[in-house]
Point group: C2
Chain length 192, copies 2
DNA sequence: TCCATACTTGGACAGTTGTCAAAATACAAA
DNA sequence: TTTGTATTTTGACAACTGTCCAAGTATGGA
């Protein structure tokens, strides 16, 4: 990404970025990711190729931006500065609901791309990183040997694992059950 | 992969595949993966491009083959048909030692590729799948709600997570400590 | 040994990619 | 409105990709 999406940009820049992201979302809903070309994105968005490369390095970079737009809504609140398991589960509920909002998009993506495709991995990886960032600094650990960063990594992958199971693995699981799964899987290092 | 690597192939086929894999390993040790082209692989291996495409769909497909050659050595033995935590840790030791054998390669890869690059993700994902396959069928679960497949997925990602931390994250951790980490992280669903 | 079959190779192909410099346009401040 | 700056667009470029076919070469069985 050549423009920092966290900084406020001019109206024109945002409009253009939105057009590209929209084109990508539309393409994603229709066909496998590896059949999507930059040319096609530009045609859909009705911008020339050079403009695409003004904003993004390649189509993965645009993907990053697309996930960013979705993840923007994730705003993890940390009521107490020490994050324990119940706080994590609270935050989990928030992300569950967010994913639920996009379940049609995810459905389409899974219909067009294998679960172990580059695309799905990219997606999973992006959100794991988002969650990692939001929990790494204030995990409240039991007295254990494992380094905190590794535990934080483990928590974020576990959260995304459960959500992947539900929203990309086509398993219909209620929020309550999902919380139970997460709780059971996490019954390790984080304080109860 | 256009030839099933599990089937025994003619000497010629194996020699050719080995040449391509060797070329890839050499390139990986030298430069970032996204700067490696099929042309370059062919030059190094001294085979024409058409031959490359006889064997592999693209450079990721060759990567699969490369990881396959490494993973071949992983032969998880299952002493008792019900896998519990101590069995998992036993198998973990085996994979730890395998990764340790290749630590110079991994070092080079990390020096040339960001930890969250396509290449590293591809690697991580491949080995997670290998481990998942080897443990999914006979996990001995506590009485829990979480589906067995999800637990198996969780175990395999946790194992790889620890190994990634050590061998790709440049953290020097002994096998004994690594086992403790894994034990702590896994203190959830698997039988003790 | 010969032959049929399978694999390898070279060359050519259209399409994609990422980059560049120069021209055109939009934009904001004076 | 004008002017200077920043962004967008155009068109062109070399390189890479994946596919194809037809000619060449191994290989193993009779």
């Amino acid at each position: 990404m050549k423009y920092d999406p966290n900084k406020k940009q001019s109206r024109g820049i945002e409009r253009t970025q939105r057009a590209f992201a929209g084109a990508m979302f539309n393409s994603l809903a229709e066909k496998p990711f590896d059949k999507i070309t930059v040319n096609e994105i530009c045609q859909r968005a009705d911008y020339p190729r050079a403009t695409f490369y003004n904003y993004f390095n390649d189509k993965f970079d645009l993907l990053d931006f697309c996930w960013y737009k979705i993840a923007q809504d994730i705003n993890i609140e940390i009521p107490n500065p020490n994050m324990d398991k119940s706080t994590i589960i609270q935050n989990f509920a928030q992300i569950y609901k967010l994913f639920d909002q996009y379940h049609i998009l995810f459905q389409n993506i899974i219909d067009n791309n294998p679960i172990d495709s580059q695309l799905v991995n990219h997606f999973i990886h992006y959100f794991t990183a988002v969650i990692y960032e939001s929990i790494k600094s204030n995990l409240n650990l039991k007295a254990i040997k494992t380094p905190a960063e590794l535990v934080a990594q483990h928590c974020s992958t576990t959260i995304i694992e459960v959500l992947k199971w539900i929203f990309l693995g086509k398993h219909d699981v209620s929020l309550e059950d999902a919380e139970d799964y997460l709780n059971e899987l996490l019954s390790g290092p984080v304080h109860v």
